[in-house]
């Protein structure tokens, strides 16, 4: 099922060379290998150690060729094509050499092809046939590796050294693609074997289970356990991963309606054939026994659930919503849109709210992650989105990563980043914690600015001060592309002594000399790109920090071409898309404010309903209004605010105060404890649609199995709308996209036909850019001239005191995803089975805390308990944890402080105290919440 493999990577060159291969004339870019040129000419040269995703290695000695006028038999994978060269790939001598090589391989390889998991897909088996091997003279009597011990420690793949031909493809994939350098060839000569770490098992080594080695293996040495167990797939369907905002393309390999494996799609432009442990392996949740596949209702949250038909559940929901609106007004209900659902589904939910509910009370989990990105980039650059493709990084000379841990949150981007750093780009990490990319193998950061949590704006403004006062501005770019007045005001502001690195060093905790060095590097180091994450946005000044980043890019001319730009790393798979689709209470699809009359009228005409010109409630405002008894009904699709949102006690109290909470999800999540209606959701494998990743790339999601509950999420929303008396009738998500395109200028040129043809599209996609826009702002900003805004640093209200002397900041780990609803139901729990609190050795010693101890953690909002990891990854005075497990209660600690512009919660700064406790606390959250997940036994009658 793999596509054509050219054997070695493509080469880009301005010069072309023409040569003859087996009498066929072919022209290729200079530097192209003979092996690749041969494939272009229609000739396949036998090979084992070569594949086009890896640099040529020249070890298998199977791809030998003869070149007229030259001696010997060079390897075609490592020999570049030259002008006028005459190459022969099939001669009696070459055939003899290849057969001899194959004979040696096979003499130390088990002959169990019929029972081998790779049977029919094994390159060794294929090559044996290609070279015409008919006998093996050496037998198995001599030394061999046939009894070598397999390693089955990894939950997803096995390693059988008996089948290894030591081609190095796995080792090179780990180095070149993933950048982990976790496996190597140990020993020399006959003793050479692939080994993980220092002779450890795969599970005990630094292997991150990305699967690149498995993908690269030409035999069954490294093999997915699902293939071993189930056999090979019958068909493959290309779709898009439903985990992070990288949006990797995958080929879902299927046996009937069952997924056998997910293989990263080589043609996928976001990932180019790479993947991480989540997308590659952690898809088993889709068929986990915990899936709820029957709609359920109950009168109160203390009752047991009762399974009902779809019709009854939807009629009950519609009746309840209308009852609440009739009693408390039409603004008393609203909806949360999922950033895990498709664009089409998100569009339908906001349409349901605006047209059927009759208000704008619709929000998305982007509220609690990247809403400051939308605000900050919209105000400065004119478009609420990142400016580049991920591939653009390949042309960066300086990469600044601020408040992001891509090794954990966006692993495929991290691999690309490390590759670029290994190639010579300078990396700057601005983060309170030592993330994985700071000291990656052979890709060490040039600078790590360990700032104090909450001081991003101080640091970014100090960088701007250096650029403005040391003559590092790109005056020509600014004059041509930016507003003169706003620039002059900004320049005056940042140049003030109060914004100098020296003035802000004490506050930020970053040495002035380092700030100056980083500013100079960013401004003068060539193409400089900024990548940032939730460590920028989830602050009281999140929007200000995003603005400060955009200011830096404009001031140095680092925008509008490849290799530069401002790049938010979006958390969930369709955060960008849910924002694009108008899932906010103040904007229609395409980021147009609800008060904009022409826009509103266009939607009114299309939807046949008058629409509100007033902004609706944001998520935290919904909860406040619930406690005020003015917001009493919530349609929550694919979100879990009871676990993911800050100040959990407040959220739970608000949910408990509502009269009708409808949860649409795969599982009974934490929010479902407070729900009155449960509508079964569909996983990404069960529906058609599109996701939009952090590059603005719209990619197809394709249904590979029927929805387990009978409905895809778009069908459920449609049915609810019909039950409410507002008709929606779409026969396929393609029709929904047609409506989106008709009403949204930046999507005007998007259609399923075009996506089918091009694979993916980056918006804006319109008449001006019919095949999309990889790089934004190339000639002008979306609103004309770039706008500088002043970024006054305002310290957070969340301050350390004697009672709360430590700052807690939160994040993610590689193997778990968000609130863990999906990944906790996979073997990924073997990599991370519980959330822990990271604490610096000094802070631990001061409190008598040792590694593995249980500690109580108390903040102004609440308390919880976690086990401790003592590590210097965090600085003194800072502690860190993740929020993947509900029992950890990380968000019991976080406060209701939020970003000034968007109400994005200040997850990243919470003052806490930590104290050792004798034993783990009793985890009794169900009792604490007073809510239940029980399902009533089926009625015997």
């Amino acid at each position: 099922m793999n596509g054509l493999d050219h054997g070695t990577p493509a080469v880009v060159s301005d010069t072309a060379v023409t040569l003859s291969i087996d009498g066929l004339t072919v022209t290729v870019p200079a530097g192209t290998s003979l092996m690749r040129a041969a494939v272009d000419a229609g000739v396949t040269i036998p090979r084992l150690c070569a594949t086009e995703t890896l640099k040529p290695f020249g070890s298998c000695r199977l791809c030998l060729v003869e070149i007229e006028g030259r001696r010997g038999y060079p390897a075609s994978c490592t020999t570049p094509a030259e002008e006028g060269m005459r190459v022969r790939t099939q001669t009696p001598k070459l055939a003899e050499l290849r057969r001899n090589v194959m004979e040696l391989y096979i003499s130390d390889h088990p002959l169990d092809c019929l029972t081998c998991a790779a049977n029919g897909q094994c390159e060794l088996q294929t090559m044996a046939g290609v070279v015409g091997l008919r006998e093996v003279r050496y037998g198995f009597a001599g030394a061999n590796h046939l009894t070598a011990t397999p390693d089955a420690s990894n939950p997803y793949f096995s390693y059988d050294p008996a089948k290894c031909i030591v081609c190095n493809r796995c080792v090179r994939a780990c180095e070149e693609q993933q950048g982990s350098f976790a496996i190597a060839i140990a020993g020399r000569g006959f003793d050479s074997r692939v080994t993980a770490g220092q002779g450890e098992s795969f599970m005990a080594s630094d292997c991150v289970s990305c699967g690149a080695c498995v993908n690269a293996c030409p035999t069954a040495t490294l093999m997915e356990k699902t293939v071993v167990a189930q056999g090979q797939a019958e068909r493959g369907i290309v779709t898009t991963c439903a985990y992070c905002g990288v949006g990797c393309g995958f080929r879902a390999e299927m046996k009937g309606t069952r997924v056998v494996r997910m293989v990263p799609w080589r043609e996928g432009r976001a990932n180019e054939g790479h993947a991480c442990v989540k997308g590659r392996f952690a898809w088993g949740y889709a068929t986990h026994p915990d899936r709820v596949t029957k709609p359920m209702i109950r009168a109160t949250i203390r009752d047991a659930w009762r399974e009902v038909s779809w019709e009854e559940a939807l009629a009950h929901t519609a009746a309840e919503f209308r009852r609440i609106q009739n009693t408390h007004g039409k603004n008393a209900i609203g909806a949360l849109v999922s950033s895990r659902c498709t664009n089409e589904e998100d569009y339908l939910v906001q349409k349901l709210v605006r047209a059927a509910f009759g208000n704008n009370n619709v929000d998305t989990c982007a509220r609690v992650c990247h809403s400051p990105t939308g605000y900050g980039l919209g105000k400065t650059l004119g478009t609420s989105a990142g400016t580049q493709t991920f591939k653009s990084m390949d042309k960066s000379d300086v990469i600044v990563v601020i408040g992001a841990d891509p090794g954990a949150g966006h692993p495929v981007v991290a691999s690309r980043l490390k590759r670029r750093v290994r190639a010579g780009a300078k990396l700057v990490v601005i983060d309170p914690r030592e993330t994985d990319i700071v000291n990656a193998p052979h890709a060490r950061a040039a600078y790590h600015l360990k700032l104090r949590p909450g001081t991003n704006v101080a640091v970014l403004t100090a960088l701007a001060h250096v650029i403005a006062t040391e003559g590092l501005l790109d005056e020509a770019f600014i004059a041509a592309r930016c507003e003169a007045r706003s620039f002059a005001e900004w320049r005056e502001f940042v140049s003030r002594p109060s914004n100098s690195p020296e003035a802000l060093a004490a506050e930020s905790g970053v040495a002035a000399a380092d700030l100056r060095a980083v500013a100079r590097l960013y401004a003068t180091g060539g193409n400089a790109a900024i990548y940032y994450g939730l460590g920028v946005t989830e602050h009281a000044q999140g929007s200000t920090a995003v603005i400060a980043i955009a200011n830096l890019a404009m001031a140095t001319g680092n925008i509008g071409r490849e290799g530069v730009g401002v790049n938010p790393l979006r958390g969930q798979n369709n955060v960008q898309g849910s924002c694009d689709m108008g899932s906010f209470p103040d904007i229609f699809p395409g980021y147009r404010h609800v008060s904009d009359a022409p826009t509103r009228e266009s939607f009114e005409r299309a939807w046949g309903k008058p629409l509100s010109a007033e902004p609706g409630l944001r998520i935290p405002n919904m909860f406040d209004a619930a406690l005020d008894a003015t917001f009493l009904g919530l349609y929550c699709q694919g979100e879990d605010p009871a676990q993911s949102d800050p100040d959990t006690r407040h959220v739970r109290a608000a949910l408990a105060a509502m009269e009708c909470v409808v949860v649409q999800d795969l599982f009974l999540n934490e929010t479902a404890k407070y729900a009155h209606v449960f509508l079964p959701g569909a996983s990404f494998l069960e529906k058609d649609g599109t996701f939009t990743n952090a590059e603005r790339r719209i990619s197809r999601v394709r249904r590979v199995m029927p929805p387990l509950a009978g409905k895809a999420d778009w069908e459920t929303t449609m049915a609810l709308s019909n039950a409410l008396g507002y008709p929606m009738h779409y026969d396929h998500p393609a029709r929904i996209m047609d409506e989106i395109a008709a009403l949204t200028p930046t999507f005007a040129g998007v259609s399923y036909d075009k996506l089918e043809r091009l694979g993916s599209l980056q918006w804006p996609c319109d008449d001006e850019a019919p095949e999309g826009t990889p790089t934004m702002h190339a000639t002008r900003f979306a609103h004309g001239k770039g706008r500088f805004l002043i970024t006054q640093y305002v310290p957070t209200d969340e301050k350390v005191t004697r009672r709360f002397p430590l700052l807690l900041t939160t994040g993610r780990v590689l193997s778990q995803y968000n609130v863990g609803v999906q990944t906790r139901r996979t073997e990924n729990v073997r990599f991370h089975g519980e959330d822990v609190l990271e604490i610096h050795p000094h802070d631990a010693a001061e409190r008598g805390i040792a590694a593995g101890d249980w500690v109580g953690i108390q903040s102004r909002a609440g308390d919880t308990a976690l086990r401790v990891a003592v590590t210097e990854r965090v600085q003194p005075g800072v502690v860190y944890t993740t929020f993947h497990f509900p029992e950890s209660g990380a968000n019991l600690l976080t406060t209701d402080n939020s970003d000034w512009a968007t109400n994005c919660p200040e997850y990243k700064v919470t003052a806490v105290q930590v104290a050792r406790i004798a034993q783990p606390p009793e985890r009794a959250r169900d009792a604490r919440g007073g809510a239940t997940r029980r399902v009533a036994a089926p009625d015997a009658s």
Binding site: N331, T544, S595, A625, D628, I790, A901
Partner: protein
């Protein structure tokens, strides 16, 4: 609505625009931000609170900005609870 939270939010908005050199524009921007992003019941709750309890907790820039909005120019009749100080 929690008026203490609304006051804090309004002051946070004020703190951002307070740094802008054009004072008139900054005041307008505060008003516009609240108008475009706050749901009417939030604006109404803050307006009611200000009428009943004064605007001393607000930053000056916010104090100047709010009267630009219709919501903050309405007459407020206190409820019996509000008259007796119970909220």
């Amino acid at each position: 609505m929690n008026t203490a939270k609304l006051i804090k939010m309004a002051n946070q908005i004020g703190a951002f625009f307070d740094a802008m050199p054009d004072r008139e524009q900054a005041v307008n921007d505060v008003a516009t931000h609240i108008s475009r992003h706050w749901e009417p019941r939030m604006r109404a709750a803050l307006a009611r609170h200000l009428v009943l309890h004064g605007d001393a907790e607000l930053m000056p820039i916010v104090r100047h900005a709010l009267p630009l909005l219709d919501d903050f120019r309405v007459a407020v009749v206190p409820t019996p609870d509000e008259r007796t100080g119970r909220q």
